[in-house]
Symmetry: C2
Subunit: 233 residues, 2 copies
């Protein structure tokens, strides 16, 4: 599911990253490059490149004479899509899912408001299309198909906002929605109210009603948070 890239590098990176984010190496614990090289049966060159990437994510810190030490959670680059995926696959998924959903609840309403002002006709069409797709797949245990439309919908909104930082959260939202559908006990069918709200957001954006688009999206976010409260401990 995860290892999209080929090459030794990817395998080691994914395994180590997953292990670290899962807390297998507690904060401050030390990993030595030789050890890792031996454990994965790769050269130290490969390990060093992996370490450099983990270092760039602020997951670890490499210091001479002491080794590669795991940094405290608060310093991790939690916006890196890979870190997000690792953490959603790991043990503290509920906490992570909640953090991300709160972030969405802050960002997406504003993005929807901007989208209502800036969306191109093509984007409006795409939005309506995805909303209809959600309606069509909202019954009969077709969660997988629904998920595709849901992700596409939110991606279009974020892109249509015209703000680059919002647009780049598309991947984050995709990970959240995917994680929610796959990993969590979810209802058999999505909440009908949420489906309706999506259709209405598409409407509001098409009509250029920024306030309404923002408010409706806020309702979607509130719904998502409440759903999380019900389904997560």
């Amino acid at each position: 599911m995860t290892t999209e890239g080929r090459g030794l590098h990817t395998r080691v990176l994914d395994t180590l990253g997953l292990a670290i984010t899962a807390g297998e190496y507690p904060q401050g614990s030390v990993v030595r490059t030789d050890e890792v090289a031996q454990r994965f049966d790769v050269s130290r060159t490969v390990v060093r490149e992996v370490v450099r990437v983990l270092e760039s994510m602020h997951l670890v810190e490499s210091r001479r004479r002491v080794g590669v030490t795991v940094r405290p959670t608060e310093e991790w680059n939690v916006y890196d899509p890979r870190v997000i995926r690792w953490r959603l696959a790991g043990s503290d998924r509920p906490r992570q899912l909640r953090s991300l959903t709160v972030l969405r609840s802050a960002v997406e309403p504003v993005a929807a408001g901007l989208a209502a002002r800036h969306a191109t006709p093509e984007q409006c069409a795409a939005l309506t299309e995805q909303a209809l797709g959600m309606v069509a797949t909202s019954r009969g245990r077709r969660l997988e198909e629904y998920l595709v439309h849901d992700i596409a919908f939110h991606r279009v909104v974020l892109n249509a906002s015209g703000n680059e930082m919002f647009a780049r959260l598309g991947d984050v939202v995709a990970e959240v929605l995917t994680g929610r559908t796959h990993h969590q006990v979810m209802f058999d069918d999505p909440d009908p109210a949420a489906v309706t709200l999506h259709v209405q957001v598409a409407e509001a954006v098409r009509e250029g009603d920024a306030d309404r688009a923002e408010e409706l999206t806020r309702e979607i976010a509130v719904g998502a948070l409440e759903e999380l409260d019900v389904l997560a401990p």
Copy 2:
């Protein structure tokens, strides 16, 4: 100012990252590792590690036989603090500053609202302290000192929100405020209205008034956006 790390690696990474984000290498253009190694007078090993990091930021893509190609802007990991710093130092600073300020305007009000609910007494004290510091340095061309308090203030709010994703935006906000102060033509003294608002936010958080904290922070954000409209083209 930038090169905090030591070692050859950092120098090459910073230089290349800056060049790429500045658009010196247009999208799709190719860089060869041997070339870079020669240009910086380092071994290919060092260059490869740099490339791996740039690849992890989605700035470039490395493929056999073809070389290291620069990816389109839309795919960059723009939440990486280093990418942000590079771009703020580069040519499209105005656009970047605007994107980031819009992001702040979405996130910080919600964070302030949460902070009003969750802030510890220590955090409330820190908030008040920083707000007073802002007042004390708001006159007499003491922008540098003001900046320190401003950054600290917003960092405390984001941390006090209790949401990890918000907390990690502290660095982003710091970069934005620093970039705004250093790179941009700024008024000699900060806007008095903004200073007052910060004091009031500290009050609202202390009193646990979430709605007021949120609304006041929203006003700060609106002010920042308007200031940007005035000072940036």
